[in-house]
């Protein structure tokens, strides 16, 4: 190459924080408009909590409730906080599939050719998914109360929801990374399912772990979903909280700190 081209100033100023917020806001609006155009995309958030609550309470509620030393009403108190944890994970998984589809559309090229931070596209996706998660949580609580869930501590309830949101957003970075890296939405979904099933069922979400074999118990004890479920349970219905609360917050911080930079980097360099 000859010296034909030269530039004196090669600085490239950073994007100010306020601009990041503005860009994220504009992209959140975009994703909310999607929901308005396509209300069916809210089906999962609306019906999943209804179906799961009814299924678990009426199918397993009687027998597991007995084992817990009560009846179906005893199980309702047990499973509603568990379902809160499950919802956090399932909604987080959806963000990967949705983002993969979005990524493969031409509009992503336009976003990436605009002077905006790469993170704002991803953060906007997470904000909208958290809003969907809150809708699902509200419906879960309404259905829960209808089948007999007893809200004793509103402050604790709010804290449990907050914890689920924090954990969910950490987990979303994992699924966003999958969404950016994997080739098709189907493979993201299949991968998400493979990760989800053992984590959800191999946990204290649906049933106490006391009767599980030892090797499984050691898995469920370290399973972050167990920690979230147990922390939510303590916060919503009383009982020990501190250990699981810190564990869940720890997981959330680690997931975000590790996976957010990875997701943004993958998004930036994907061609």
């Amino acid at each position: 190459m000859s010296a034909a081209v030269s530039t004196a100033d090669l600085s490239d100023p950073r994007i100010p924080l306020r601009a990041h917020l503005r860009h994220t806001g504009a992209l959140v609006r975009r994703n909310l408009l999607w929901i308005r155009q396509d209300p069916e995309s809210m089906f999962d958030a609306v019906f999943m909590p209804i179906v799961f609550t009814l299924l678990f309470v009426y199918v397993f509620g009687g027998s597991i409730g007995q084992a817990l030393g009560g009846g179906q009403d005893r199980y309702v108190q047990y499973v509603v906080p568990g379902l809160l944890a499950m919802m956090s994970m399932t909604m987080a998984q959806g963000v990967g599939t949705g983002f993969n589809q979005d990524f493969n559309s031409g509009v992503m090229d336009r976003f990436r050719s605009l002077p905006i931070g790469r993170g704002s596209v991803l953060v906007a996706k997470i904000v909208v998914e958290l809003l969907r998660m809150l809708v699902a949580t509200a419906i879960l609580l309404v259905v829960g109360v209808l089948v007999g869930f007893d809200i004793t501590d509103w402050g604790g309830l709010a804290a449990a929801v907050g914890l689920a949101v924090v954990f969910g957003s950490g987990l979303m970075w994992v699924f966003l990374t999958l969404g950016v890296t994997m080739k098709s939405a189907q493979s993201v979904q299949a991968m998400g399912f493979l990760v989800m099933m053992p984590l959800q069922f191999g946990s204290s979400v649906f049933a106490p772990t006391g009767t599980m074999p030892g090797w499984l118990q050691s898995f469920t004890d370290y399973n972050p979903i167990s920690s979230l479920a147990d922390a939510a349970r303590g916060l919503m219905t009383g009982g020990p909280v501190a250990h699981d609360l810190w564990l869940t917050l720890g997981w959330s911080v680690v997931l975000t700190a590790v996976m957010a930079p990875v997701a943004i980097h993958k998004f930036r360099t994907k061609s």
Binding site: M1, A4, S6, T7, W34, Q37, S113, P115, S271
Partner: protein, 341 residues
């Protein structure tokens, strides 16, 4: 500040590319491309599928990083100053890069906001551009209900929101019907009239002739020819006149006569016996008239006479000696759009 050895006359360079290389494994999508586009001009990048056109545009719009070489757009380096560069460019891809699920207006408003326009100005700009691209009536409808031409127009409007200094049009009319193609051409010509510098990639000689003032022909990642349209046309023989005498027996005598007259300058007259046609390359309207005059003077009855621009294939044949539609070479995923023609 930018300084270039500009071999073209006058005009500040808007795009300068030197020795650009991009590999995908063993495939060289770009193999040392040089390119200069002067401010306010339209540069047509002509090439067949897989020639590297899309890769070039993707590098110049910071979507891809080159493996070697340099590229400056409006004085900004594609690798080292991507944020500033992105402020000065507009991009229109082969596939309308607009959000299908959003209404047209929302698409433009969103991009206005992402380009840091205040709410009020983003709104006004969206209204203004919809008006200009005759989309006002469809403003509130989701884009997936638009026709192909409407989508391209919205895509063009979206590229214009930030008043870009340089606009990339990556095969803007591929897949459109002729009428819609003319619409898009008219819009592009209007934008060029406003002083935008345009880098246009196309597979159609006709499109290049309509829109571009200069051409760069690329093939297999290399520049194989460049210059003004007229210059290039002269190289490849301008238009082709297809003459079909009523009596096929007249074909050969007619060909011999035209060769003897020496009207056609560069390429020789060829005979297509299968279709009973004489293919006469002509460089100017005068030559065309002279050929018709000679045929008439001989008193031959003609079944048909038509002129056509050289196809990309013919351009390639005369420039490289091989056909443009080369055997399907393994192309990188990023050029996959080019395959969807």
């Amino acid at each position: 500040m930018t300084r270039t050895d500009n071999h073209s006359d006058g005009g500040k360079p808007a795009v300068t590319v030197r020795g650009l290389v991009k590999h995908y494994g063993a495939t060289k999508a770009l193999d040392g491309v040089d390119l200069d586009v002067r401010e306010g001009t339209v540069m047509g990048v002509l090439g067949p599928n897989g020639a590297g056109k899309t890769t070039l545009v993707r590098i110049l719009s910071t979507l891809l990083t080159p493996d070697a070489g340099r590229a400056l757009v409006a004085g900004y380096d594609v690798v080292r100053q991507p944020r500033q560069l992105r402020r000065t460019i507009g991009l229109t891809g082969q596939y309308a890069s607009v959000d299908e699920k959003l209404p047209g207006w929302e698409n433009l408003y969103l991009i206005g906001r992402l380009l840091d326009l205040p709410r009020k100005r983003a709104r006004a700009r969206a209204d203004e551009l919809l008006e200009r691209f005759s989309l006002t009536e469809a403003a509130r409808r989701p884009v997936h209900t638009y026709s192909g031409g409407m989508r391209r127009r919205l895509d063009l409007a979206a590229s214009m929101i930030g008043h870009p200094a340089v606009l990339y049009l990556d095969e803007p009319t591929t897949g459109l019907d002729p009428r819609t193609r003319n619409e898009v051409w008219a819009e592009v010509q209007a934008m060029v009239g406003d002083g935008v510098t345009v880098l246009l990639t196309t597979q159609y000689m006709e499109e290049a002739e309509q829109l571009a003032s200069e051409l760069t022909v690329i093939d297999r990642g290399r520049v194989i020819a460049g210059g003004g349209i007229e210059e290039l046309k002269a190289k490849v023989g301008g238009r082709t006149l297809r003459v079909r005498p009523l009596d096929p027996a007249e074909l050969r005598p007619l060909a011999r006569m035209l060769d003897e007259l020496g009207i056609t300058g560069l390429a020789a007259t060829t005979v297509d016996t299968e279709r009973g046609e004489l293919l006469v390359p002509v460089l100017s309207d005068e030559q065309l008239t002279a050929v018709v005059g000679a045929v008439t003077a001989r008193g031959i009855t003609l079944a048909s006479i038509t002129t056509e621009l050289p196809s990309l294939d013919e351009v390639f044949l005369s420039l490289t000696g091989h056909r443009a539609s080369a055997p399907q070479d393994p192309r990188p995923a990023d050029d996959r759009e080019e395959a969807a023609v």
